[in-house]
């Protein structure tokens, strides 16, 4: 007997007490929890996102669409970044003013090559105000998962209010499970040493989020 059959057989015997007409899934789970916590206008939701992002030590900026190229150029310059990873679908005008070598997101790049790049700029799929989370789904303006992981500096552009939702339930509704998803709430952190929070163990040590109107 294969282990598959053995395990399934054990499960079925273990559940001998469960009646066949047990409540179907749709009725088994009460969904009377909230779809979002509190009522907010679109602008208040964006403000809450900014607040919660900052609370988890992401650096938050806000600007109008037209100011984005200047802002990104400034952020890169302030950090002294000389190279930037660019996902294939990143709107070219975003980084038109950036004075750094563009490194395209290629399948063939090795992790060591990525490790030598200073910064990465991406968009996102959705942002969650209540938790201060941005979610990447590998879309054209976000690129492969590893490009937002290996470099030490990640700038993520969120279009507000369109890409912002209030809550986790609302975010899941917008996401496609078939894509690889990365949920990011602040920079990498550990509390393993006497529960003191330290930022930046393995992921990018600096996360900057730009909210663009």
């Amino acid at each position: 007997m294969s282990s598959r059959e053995r395990i399934l057989g054990r499960v079925r015997r273990a559940l001998a007490d469960v009646p066949r007409d047990d409540t179907p899934y749709e009725r088994a789970v009460p969904r009377d929890y909230l779809r979002e916590h509190g009522e907010r206008s679109a602008e208040e939701t964006v403000e809450l996102l900014a607040e919660n992002l900052a609370d988890y030590r992401a650096i938050v900026h806000r600007c109008a669409d037209g100011e984005l190229p200047k802002l990104l150029a400034r952020l890169m310059a302030e950090r002294g970044s000389r190279s930037v990873l660019v996902p294939p679908g990143l709107p070219p005008h975003w980084i038109a003013a950036v004075d750094a070598t563009r490194v395209p997101d290629r399948a063939g790049s090795t992790p060591h090559e990525l490790d030598r790049v200073d910064s990465v700029i991406t968009g996102c799929a959705v942002a969650i105000a209540e938790t201060g989370t941005i979610v990447l789904d590998g879309g054209p303006d976000q690129g492969r998962r590893r490009i937002t992981l290996v470099p030490d500096h990640h700038i993520c552009v969120v279009r507000v209010p369109g890409q912002v939702v209030s809550s986790v339930p609302q975010a899941l509704g917008r996401l496609d499970p078939a894509r690889p998803l990365t949920w990011i709430s602040g920079p990498s952190a550990t509390s393993d040493i006497e529960l003191d929070r330290v930022e930046g163990v393995h992921g990018p040590r600096t996360l900057e989020v730009v909210l663009v109107d």
Binding site: L8, R10, Y56, P111, L149, V168, S185, I193, L195
Partner: protein, 492 residues
């Protein structure tokens, strides 16, 4: 389960030794109290906590009650998404499968995301025996691995180590495993974390095989979810060419939507955060993004035996948040190692004896490693009634009765004043000789709920009798403690 540490004394002896260790107790106390207060605050932020908790309980219960169906669905969905599914009836089989998969790649090292399941089966040791080195990449697991130590907490496995000890371990051991600790390393957390970053980055960037567990597997879509903080998980899940995930069969949730419940309750219950820094979700493989080959190993290893127990099966709802450890007065004093299993604390006290059976001294004594104060039940985000299961298992130990072992029905003999009984009595004695435990015992009456009428037979009766003791303290317990045992083991 190969998790009983060899030569491990039963809980009371192990606990007694741990309680005498001042450093350990100081470290534990600091950690559990900090995290406990934070959690309470994080939970009050969510006004619908009770509803979320109830939904979580129902989702998990429903899944367990139809686990055969959902297991098959997971297999279909993962396969359709480009993954390969393997079934492992026990630890040995899981280890054989993973070892063979690594050998197929021709690699002799793997990077690992922290995972309870792989610890439970002793995967690192099995790989080592096959000449494959497994690098733990979670900072705490790294500390444990370098210190040739055992984890003592589900979430913060090195909770028993303070910064000075960690610095010493890094200085002494890092060079054995790869990049040595930087010159002049101090004990500030920032420097220690930086040393770990440099040491591990070297391994991430060259790794070809990653091994992980999962927090959730969505049956409907075949999606796996790993919740973490440091980014080491993302590294292991993204950079290698081959990814092998070993996942207990109880980790399944039926639908994508179910994640909305657990992604709200898990971070708040475990690290007391609104959301943990990183969550990775993947469904099979994705062209040119992440691992090209994905294997899912579905692990039984005693879970179906646990499932067969109508009272005990609720332990399989556990989402390993560790909230119950942080509120447990017994855990706080005894520490994780005393439980002699990878699952310490209240959840360990009910899960380990079910996964492994109550044949050994340590497993027979685990259901007694509790004061039944009920705090664990109150914080549990999936409402596992740990006290109820503890009492049920105590009955099983002293009275014997039907149980399932490796899929077969067996009739356990009652413990006849031998090992189990002695262990039990000593555990009870031990619990009641300790102030915090006793103090919480005073709150018992209101919380013992439905097992009030029960009286345990045999040694259990003596035990039940002693439950009344706390109600009538002759003098404040702290005074008594000072007078009789003060200073002996640094209780204050």
């Amino acid at each position: 389960m190969s998790g009983t540490y060899l030569g491990m004394p039963a809980f009371p002896e192990a606990a007694r030794a741990a309680v005498r260790d001042r450093t350990l107790r100081g470290n534990l106390r600091h950690a559990t109290h900090t995290i406990r207060a934070k959690r309470a605050k994080a939970v009050t932020e969510v006004s619908d906590w009770a509803e979320l908790r109830e939904a979580g309980r129902r989702i998990k219960d429903h899944t367990l009650r139809h686990l055969d169906r959902y297991l098959v669905r997971v297999e279909e969905a993962v396969t359709a998404a480009g993954g390969t599914v393997h079934w492992a009836a026990d630890a040995d089989e899981a280890n054989r499968i993973v070892t063979a998969l690594v050998e197929e790649t021709g690699e002799s090292e793997v990077v690992k995301v922290k995972s309870m399941a792989t610890q439970e089966i002793g995967l690192n040791e099995a790989l080592e025996a096959a000449g494959i080195r497994a690098y733990e990449t979670d900072l705490a697991e790294l500390i444990v691995q370098l210190g040739k130590d055992r984890p003592s907490h589900i979430l913060v496995p090195a909770i028993h180590r303070n910064r000075g000890e960690i610095r010493d371990i890094f200085r002494a051991e890092m060079s054995e495993w790869g990049r040595p600790a930087p010159e002049g390393l101090t004990d500030t957390p920032a420097e220690l974390a930086e040393a770990a970053r440099l040491h591990l980055r070297e391994k991430f960037l060259r790794a070809k095989v990653g091994v992980s567990g999962a927090n959730f597997v969505v049956a409907e879509t075949g999606t796996l979810v790993v919740v973490e903080s440091e980014g080491n998980g993302r590294m292991c899940l993204t950079l290698p060419e081959t990814l092998i995930s070993v996942v207990g069969i109880e980790k399944i949730v039926p639908t994508w939507r179910d994640l909305e419940v657990f992604l709200q309750t898990l971070p708040r219950s475990s690290t007391a955060e609104r959301m943990n820094p990183y969550t990775s979700m993947w469904t099979g493989t994705t062209d040119e993004d992440g691992p090209r080959t994905f294997h899912l190993v579905l692990l039984d290893n005693g879970r179906t035996d646990t499932l067969a127990d109508e009272v005990g099966r609720q332990a399989l709802r556990c989402i390993r948040c560790s909230a119950c450890l942080n509120v447990c007065p017994v855990y706080e004093r005894a520490g994780g190692h005393a439980y002699g299993s990878v699952y310490p604390g209240p959840i360990g006290a009910i899960l380990s004896p079910q996964l492994r059976g109550t044949g050994s001294d340590i497993d027979a004594s685990l259901p007694y490693a509790s004061s039944l104060c009920g705090a664990c039940y109150e914080v549990c985000p999936v409402a596992i009634d740990i006290p109820e299961v503890l009492v049920h298992l105590r009955e099983r130990v002293v009275q014997g009765g039907p149980a399932t072992r490796r899929g077969n029905k067996v009739l356990l003999k009652p413990a006849k004043g031998h090992a189990a009984e002695r262990a039990a009595m000593r555990a009870a004695q031990w619990a009641f000789a300790h102030p915090g435990v006793l103090r919480t015992g005073q709150r018992l009456a209101s919380r013992t709920r439905r097992f009030h009428p029960r009286t345990l037979p045999g040694p259990g009766r003596a035990w039940t009798g002693s439950r009344d003791l706390p109600a009538v303290p002759a003098e404040p317990f702290r005074d008594w403690w000072q007078r009789t045992r003060g200073g002996e083991d640094g209780t204050k």
